[in-house]
Amino acid sequence: MFQFKEGFYADIRIEDRFTTNISIKNGQLEEYNVTTLKKAFLRVFDGEMWYYSSTTDTDNIQKELDSLYGYAKANPNIEEHPIVKRYEVNKDELYQFASCSVRDISAEEKMAKLTSLDALLASEHMKMRRALYLDRNSKFEFYSSKGASVRYDYQTTGVSLVAALAHNGEQFADALQKSGVRFEEVIVSEQEIKSFLDELETYITTAKAIEPGAYPVILSPLATGVFAHESFGHKSEADFMVGDETMAKEWEIGKKVGSELLTIYETGTLKGCGYVPYDDEGTKAKMNYLIKDGRLAGRLHSSSTAAVMNEELTGNARAINCDYEPIVRMTNTMIQGGSSTFDELVAGIKHGFYVKTIKHGSGMSTFTIAPSVAYEIVDGKIADPVKIAVITGNVFETLGLIDGVGNDETALSFVTGGCGKMEQSGLPVGFGGPHIRVSKMNVQ
């Protein structure tokens, strides 16, 4: 299909992306956007430097590739380069969504779904509402000079119902989001919307301030997922270890890094927004344990980082689109479920907090989660709603302070947001886990 030159490694990634974005604000159509964009990203490696370019002129990829070769110097031993040697040579065609593509769902059906949900968004203190419908169907192709030839598709679809409330000079907003991989899976019942709004009404009218300090905290599956992603997922991305031998030794596989109750895994095989059956270097998705029973079990790699650290590929080289090169990223990051019920976790706390929904999270040596809806826990029972700006903690200390893991592991997928790393923001990632209990976190 493409003519690759001797003396270089090269690969070509092509994405044909279809997206729909419909937004209704306060009952009025705000955005109706259908986009189809086909783009290619090309890489050439000569053993010393990588050279990249992207193009929308997908009929002339060969010309673009030939031009890119001009920057590189031929290397007769390129096939023996440790990075190149690691690349998998997969040949596959994995179209999962051809029979249920959102490309084939009519605009009327999408609009009807959204308007029917928007009509249910009403409550006493709600000042603004927004109903969003978002979908994406991508057809990927990947070809390499080693002979890889992979074609697969990806799909997400969902709605996000945002309600913003105000009362006594304070404001509060939260969203109810439902997503899936098939249009018909995205169902939000009238009762779910009512419960969502009732909780926000209770929150805006009764939530009280807290006394900042260190408390035991229970995280919901959503908060657990963000915690796993931010606290440890990013630290597991091996590109942060390259060039630092001390750190590589410090992060020796088998080292105890958390509570024995803690197991974190990462995989692109879960259907949802973090579904990556082949990464952007053509590596097939795998099941990767990052922490198993509290001990370091693995990390996430591209071929470059795997070669430097002499480890196996994990299928985590990803780019947000065909404007960027793949770098080490997460796919679906999960804390594995345990044995406790939610009530058992709560019963073990004299005075603490339950974080139910969140606004955002971030993490370095300290991780931070900004809760949205949160509750006080008093004498082993969920009590009043509370206003918390952030919960924070040192990553390693906190991983060791997990003293309860729920039996309700839940994988979550999203149609808004995404992960940001360096210049590439908004990468769809899935995450989740069970309810977990941490014996001490800073609550502010």
Partner: protein, 406 residues
């Protein structure tokens, strides 16, 4: 039927840094064309990435009027203006060698650290044409976004160096990075008391941006409900979206709707007074407020608000010009936020104690808490143009509570 045509071309070269060495070069050329048409208070939009036929795009935009997206037709003044700020920063043929030389020097001068992330040189050309309004802009900049990691640290990064420049000065960049690395290795103790003077990147004020949107304000969701035109902050506090080509780098002087702000600078807060709101033309018409030139848009999307050019107007050059004595400079923080009542909390990971502008040493971790109204009101001291090194973002200098000291 009024028509707007927007053309945007960006050309960039991006160098990746791994373990202090340049290991890749990415070349991107991106051309986007947008046609918007307005008829009967509706908008029709069509856009393309890459080569396109403008007549086809025009017909598609007209067809999209049928989607029924309400939008007012508010033409811009009949003004023609062209700004060309482009000047060669580093000759194209010398880019790779120049950046490799810089990184080799940075690594040699700071052997206890390793460096990563990107250096990006980008040129932007943008045009907005509608009836007798005709704007064009060309500019470029060089961005250094370098992560700094202390060798052996378990962190993914410990510090950062981030500047956007229009002139390349190797010595200045190397000096800024070395100052950051040297400061990271030093140690200091917290000043006494629970309240201290802190210097924090101007982006902190971004936490409040939602409260300055017309949507929030006119739906009574803003912390500053009913305060438009009133003094809400310290009289030295000025917040704007600055598109003045003399100051703004690689940013057109017009927004996505072809609106040019008064003196190219849209003020949200001027002398502490709540002056303007983030509003597109549609929101301005809906709520009866002014549109001040703060719209953004994707190439085929309905205009929405944008924080491009967001900045705090400096009150002094350096932190020591704002206040003498001890100041805690917050260098790296981790995702702060505000509660419903406007209480702000910011976990601080890396900070330095300064005395009269000189670094005393690195402080342990802590968190800053403050009421947003007080931080920019009675406790606000000023904004220093220069943060920790030349060309860095401006910093807010104010008194705040210091909690959770490690």
């Amino acid at each position: 039927m009024r028509e707007e045509i927007i053309e945007k071309k960006t050309v960039s070269k991006c160098f990746n840094i791994t373990a202090g060495a340049i290991d890749s070069m990415r070349i991107n050329t991106n051309v986007e064309t947008t046609v918007r048409v307005y008829e009967n208070e509706k908008i029709g939009i069509a856009g393309r990435v890459g080569a396109c036929n403008i007549d086809e795009l025009r017909e598609e935009a007209k067809k999209n009027l049928a989607l029924g997206i309400p939008y007012p037709d508010l033409p811009n003044p009949p003004v023609e203006r062209s700004v060309d700020c482009y000047k060669e920063i580093v000759p194209d043929g010398e880019l790779v060698a120049t950046m490799k030389k810089l990184m080799a020097r940075v690594c040699a001068e700071n052997p206890e650290f390793t460096f990563g992330n990107k250096i990006i040189i980008e040129e932007t050309q943008q045009k907005y044409v509608s009836e007798k309004t005709n704007y064009s802009y060309r500019g470029n900049s060089l961005v250094f976004s370098i992560t700094i990691k202390f060798k052996g640290s378990a962190n993914i990064m410990d510090e950062g160096y981030s500047v956007e420049v229009t002139e390349y000065d190797e010595d200045e960049i190397a000096k800024g990075i070395k100052k950051t690395c040297d400061s990271f290795l030093s140690k200091a103790q917290f000043p006494e008391g629970e309240k201290a003077v802190v210097a924090i990147d101007e982006s902190l004020a971004g936490m409040m941006l939602a409260h300055f949107t017309a949507d929030y304000y006119f739906n009574h969701l803003s912390l500053f409900d009913g305060k438009l035109g009133e003094q809400i902050f310290n009289e030295k506090f000025n917040v704007c979206c600055d598109r003045d080509p003399k100051r703004a780098k690689n940013l057109p002087f017009f927004d996505a709707e072809g609106v040019v702000s008064e003196n190219d600078c849209a003020y949200l807060i001027k002398d502490g007074v709540m002056k303007g709101l983030f509003a597109t033309k549609k929101q301005a018409a809906q709520y009866g407020c002014e549109y001040i030139g703060v719209a953004g848009a994707s190439y085929n999307g309905v205009p929405s608000i944008s924080g491009a050019g967001f900045k705090l107007m400096p009150t002094a050059d350096d932190i020591s010009d704002v206040v003498k004595g001890e100041v805690i400079y917050v260098s790296v923080s981790s995702g702060g936020d505000m509660t419903a009542d406007g209480t702000l909390s910011l976990p601080v990971i890396v900070s330095y104690l300064l005395k009269d502008g000189e670094v005393v040493g690195k402080l342990p971790g802590f968190a800053v808490t403050a009421s947003a109204k007080d931080l920019f009101g009675k406790d606000f001291l000023g904004v220093a143009k220069n943060g920790f090194y030349k060309h860095s973002n401006s910093v807010i200098v104010a008194k705040a509570n210091i909690v959770n000291k490690e």
